[in-house]
Amino acid sequence: MTGRVIVITSGKGGVGKTTTSANIGTALAKAGHKVVLIDTDLGLRNLDLLLGLENRIVYTIVDVIEERCKLKQALVKDKKNPNLSLLAAAQTRDKTAVNAEQLKEICDTLREENDFVLVDCPAGIEQGFQNAVAGANEAIVVTTPEMSAIRDADRIIGLLATKEEISSTKLLLNRVRPSLIKSNEMMSVDDVIGILEIPLIGIIPEDTGIITSTNKGEPIVNDENALAGKAYRNVAQRILGEEVPFLDLDEPKGFMAKIKNAFAKLKVKV
């Protein structure tokens, strides 16, 4: 088997890379695929918290690299889904503890036995970023509809274009608020695509449920009712090559309006 190695990156911090990694990983695993999530944010790890796995971590990626354990031993199985496991970052080390070749080797090994290896990238364009992309052959660039985030995403897309191994780079637009777009206070999806000019893989609405889900250590894709959860499930399906119709992100309206909307051509597409 040769699994796909996808790096989730952004340039700017705090735009939702880790949230996206946890949710897409969970959704793919729920769909029956074997998935490993790698947290490469050494010293500022979070992915374990979002998955509620912090108390199960015995070995980290640094232990693997420094040969204190085997790669298999360091994979922490998800509580609910045996298809999903996590390779945690070391909390007490800095980014110099790992180099790009080492990460590539780990990705290469993991893709032999997994359908997906998702790499959660740290913010920035230095060593941490170089490490995270080293083993990847696809990339998802996360941004929010803000000028500063888009500027950084643009920079990252440029850098990714120089990496021959990366065959596909897609855009995930996070924290979208249709009401703000309507009132012209937020850039529209079309505006963002217009600037970045790469294919869109998903649009995730701003959802306060994400905060509660983070605190509980339970990705929001597990919540059948949350709109952001649905949006992330759709992203996973698109990664799997399915054509998924676009979600209506408009604020909930009357039943009839929803039906009408479903047929209407939407400006906001997921």
Binding site: G43, L44, L49, G52, E54, N55, R56, I57, V58, R68, Q73, K79, Q91, T92, G217
Partner: protein, 329 residues
């Protein structure tokens, strides 16, 4: 014989009737009592059929009082528990399921008829506000008042006077075994990881007396990402935040809230202990045994309080067990 509904002012019902055994009962109670909302309340304990000896009930009472609360009354179906309660001057009554739904919080009825309580009348005192005190018998435990008092040395004789202990002083406060079968996974505070013994190759288990080791004294807060490691014992005056790591050849003592990883006896010393005013470590490691905090207790940041009951983790019979203690061992 029944107390009227709405009797307990500022009351709180804690239903422990499903506890499978005393250990689990006390464990659940102590987790509930840590919640800030339960402070300063009159607690009604639903104990179901649990048979509690006088000493056990007294420990429970001390636990509740250490959180500034008091027992209003208990609801029990066990004759033994009832007898223990009567001898301790704790009222016994019944709560119906309806009361639980309604919550029993309310105001005191103007008059409480004498026969409405089971204990002898002189032990019930009504103060001017009409609030009833479930007046409790002589053996009040002074050491639960505040942190300074906790470590007051109490001699074994004194202790056995205050607490009529059944077998050993260790049974005074509860022993929470990580995975003894006593407690199932859902209810243990710490659960051993199935990694087996994680000692690196070439490191042998040993029982060096940790008192003979030097001690590193640190007066600071350990923050996420910080590691302290030392061959001897480590004493930290301050909190160890989640994301921090303490690795000691001997004992680890945190005079504060321990929230990160603590590894005592990392060179194989199985007599090493981890002590903290509040033991909330995400993982406890002693020698080659690793235990994770129960998922149900995943509240990474604990509120500060002056009323923590210090806890000690140590290895016994190949398991990590945790004692809640009010005194130095």
């Amino acid at each position: 014989m029944l107390l009227e509904k709405g009797f307990v002012k500022n009351g709180f019902i804690i239903d422990l009737s499903n506890a499978k055994n005393t250990t689990q009962l006390v464990f659940e109670l102590s987790s509930i009592m840590e919640h800030p909302d339960v402070k300063g309340k009159n607690v009604c304990l639903k104990l179901g059929g649990s048979d509690l000896k006088q000493s056990q009930l007294l420990s429970i009472k001390a636990l509740i009082e250490s959180m500034d609360s008091s027992i209003a009354f208990i609801d029990t179906t066990s004759e033994q528990t009832e007898a223990s309660a009567v001898s301790l001057g704790i009222m016994v009554s019944k709560v119906s399921d309806q009361d639980i739904q309604d919550g029993i919080v309310g105001t005191l009825p103007d008059e409480v008829s004498e026969e409405s309580v089971m204990v002898k009348s002189e032990e019930i005192s009504l103060d001017s506000s009409g609030q009833s005190e479930a007046s409790l018998s002589s053996s009040h435990i002074e050491t639960t008042e505040g942190i300074e008092d906790i470590y007051n040395e109490i001699s074994a004789e004194e202790l056995s006077e205050i607490i009529p202990s059944e077998d050993s002083e260790k049974t005074y406060f509860t022993k929470f075994a990580a995975n003894e079968g006593l407690l199932n996974d859902e209810h243990s505070k710490y659960i051993l990881l199935d990694t087996g013994n994680v000692l690196p190759e070439g490191v042998e288990e040993n029982s060096t007396n940790t008192e003979s080791l030097p001690t590193l004294y640190l007066n600071q807060t350990l923050r996420s990402g910080q590691t302290v490691s030392y061959d001897g014992n480590i004493l930290i005056i301050g909190d160890a935040h989640p994301g921090s790591e303490i690795i000691a050849g001997g004992d680890i003592t945190v005079w504060g809230i321990l929230g990160g990883i603590a590894h005592a006896g990392n060179a194989g010393n199985i007599t090493s202990k981890v002590r903290a005013l509040k033991l909330n470590a995400i993982q406890l490691r002693i020698a080659g045994l690793y235990a994770r905090r129960n998922d149900t207790l995943n509240v990474p940041y604990v509120q500060k309080s002056n009323e923590f009951t210090p806890e000690v983790a140590q290895i016994e019979d190949g398991k990590i067990v945790i004692y809640k203690k009010l005194r130095r061992d």
